[in-house]
Amino acid sequence: MDENSQVSRVASAYAAIREQAKKSRAELLKEVVPRIHVGLATCGIASGALETKQAFEETLFQRGVEARIHTMGCIGHCYAEPVVIISNPGFPPIFYQNVTPGKAKMLVRSFLEKGDPLFEHLLGATEENEMIPQVWDFPRFSQEKRIVMEKCGIVDPENVDDYIAGGGYQALAKALDMDRDAIVEWITSAGLRGRGGAGFPTGLKWDLAKKASGSSKTIICNADEGDPGAYMDRTILESNPHQVIEGIAICAYAVGAAEAIVYVRAEYPLAVKMVTEAIVQAKKRGFLGKEILGSSLDLEIDIFQGSGAFVCGEETALIRSIEGHRGMPEHRPPFPVEKGLGGKPTVINNVKTLASIPPIVEHGPDWYRKIGTEKSPGTAIFSVVGDVLHAGLVEIPMGVPLRSLIFDICGGVPNKKAFKAVQIGGPSGGCLPADFLDTPIDFDSLISAGAMMGSGGMVVMDEDACMVDVARYFLEFTQNESCGKCTFCRIGTQHLLNILERITKGEGREGDLEQLESLSRDIKAGSLCGLGKTAPNPVLTSLKYFRDEYEAHIHEKRCPAGMCRSLTAFYIDLEKCARGCDACVGCCPVEAIFTTKNRKKGVDQTLCVKCGECVQACPPEYNAVVRVSPPELAPIIERAE
């Protein structure tokens, strides 16, 4: 009886809030005017979205056109930034890409004033219609399956009512009506695995925390995204923070916690701002604070700004850093679910894991199980960047082969270059060659290929990338970020780095490769935390799949890709160089380009810093700049007297 009365209380409390939110949305949408949605997440701003927004405002004012400008988060199509979606009455909402201030002016004058949607500039419509092709028909849109990022770029992150009106916090209301054991049971049977990288079953973690003794438990949302190439956590927090907050609240109810901390990198100021604001707004609507929706759940969320240490992605190190110490990992067990922050049981979940919770609670575990593969249900988010046409964030069901992700969804490698390798999982992951393109993407098959899911960073490399240099780059990163606790990680990575640096400079020796391998094995065995255990992965995978490149560096002092600057040289082919053309001279940052006696150009090898600007500057009809390795292959060209 008592249980039942609480059921109706939560549901009716939520219904009232939702009604109110819908009303305030309807109030906002009442006027029939064109609406311009501008994506204003960090990546959009970096591509000039603020200038675009200003151009819209000015032109609307100058021309006396009535329209409303809405800001939204990021929809993950980074290649298309700044992204603008215009809903003009009489037209379906239209998605425009690369909207510069000039294009913005044009859109106001042609589309808003004269009703010409400028077909040459649009990408597609976001609703079904008979006039304009839909974006959902493009592979970049149709092959995605959005669960975590469903509302990113669609809701206004600064307006909680927008989220509520679209059904937000409904899952929390539903969860509060359920038994706590039942929620943990649902998460377990949904098979959700932690999206932070290791893939630990979330249900099991919650179950352990629920059973842990102690009255005050803490939830930590790990948004300390340290992988230099992944930015989905930032995007989710900037574009739809409420879904994460809802996930935290459900988790808090399930395990019996009253406190939560969002641990977000201080380098993400916009994400910090959005989450702070979202917490205030959620509290105002009664989704945080005391007796949430009339239930027994009390929850306060704080923000802790991480100061930038890659190792703090490790649970125990993260806890140390919140406690005001150096972020150094500790022995496990005891695991944080038993003895975490301040010695109390602590659940640490990644942003993506927590954002997956509301959809699972809403649709049930069976629905979630149907997405993805048997052992890795659900979706994965990748930041596909590097040499790929449609870079950005992609959310796909687990089990999709790498080939469809890179070539179908992201458009493949640009500039007619050949695909060479894909680096998955950042500094902990590995480089996979073209042979692995048909590998399905899930936790286990990536690990058996030598890479790992990691944080979901995926860097595509074309034929111009040198695998030795990429391995050196990652080692430089992990060496720098090693906390110094374990000897093998602290000193071993330094040795690995020294050897790799030597090889990329053409000073490699016999036996280097064997030493790299044995050192890597020792570092893996002798390190306490994930950083050290996985640090040699980039070296080991590149050695396994691209051994010939290492050998070319060592034996022939040659970089096959022409990336390692000590082993390459640029020269100008006098047959192709156009007499009197000065295109390369102006672009050279060190004035290394001189004129020969027949008024063609030459490169002074002693001055050249090998930046490759002249290759870009040389007009394509001449294409006279040549890159060679080893550098001795460059002919000697004489200056004019």
Partner: protein, 183 residues
């Protein structure tokens, strides 16, 4: 004349430092004396004054009843904290994976060459400083450089020159205007 200027500037800097210390000693009391507030306090100080002065570190250690070396131990562990004042235009060159593959180190080198300082240093006139960062999270725009608050995507060596030239022109313009005012 030059000596007098220097003397004046020195006084000015000392004054600024005293004001900073006073302000921080007031602000710091918003935080409790527990160890867990150490990093938030350091973040507050750097947020206001862009770097951690040696005197401030001592003050923080005193407030939290910690050894000075302990505070340094924590502050130097994290990438966020700086111990020297940055330039007026602080340049962060991203060397994340995507930026590296697309030539981020060439961009860093160009800044270093143009400004004649190394990564982590400030120009003598305190106009520019350079810092390499791991990832600013705009990988699709690689290579990326952040100048002050502005993110610049798809940076090429020629764009580096343009950026610096822009600031120099601005500075000269400012100097001219001030000169006119004085005249």
């Amino acid at each position: 004349m030059l000596l007098i200027m220097n003397g004046f500037e020195k006084d000015n800097l000392l004054e600024q430092e005293e004001a900073m210390l006073k302000e921080i000693s007031e602000e710091i009391t918003r935080f409790g004396c527990e160890r867990k507030n150490l990093i938030p306090i350091l973040q507050m100080v750097q947020g206001r004054h862009a770097y951690l002065d040696a005197k401030v570190v001592e003050m923080v250690a005193d407030y939290l009843d910690l050894a000075v070396c302990e505070v340094y131990g924590v502050a130097t562990f994290y990438n966020q904290f700086r111990f020297h004042p940055p330039g007026k235009h602080h340049i962060k060159v991203c060397l994340g994976t995507a930026c590296h593959v697309r030539g981020g180190s060439i961009i860093l080198e160009n800044f270093e060459r143009k400004l004649e300082i190394k990564d982590g240093e400030t120009t003598p006139d305190r106009e520019f400083s350079i810092e390499r960062v791991a990832c600013v999270g705009c990988c699709a725009l690689a290579p990326v450089a952040v100048v002050g608050e502005d993110v610049h995507g798809k940076v090429a060596p020629s764009k580096v020159e343009g950026l610096i030239l822009g600031f120099q022109i601005e500075k000269e313009k400012r100097a001219r205007e001030e000169g006119q005012k004085d005249g």
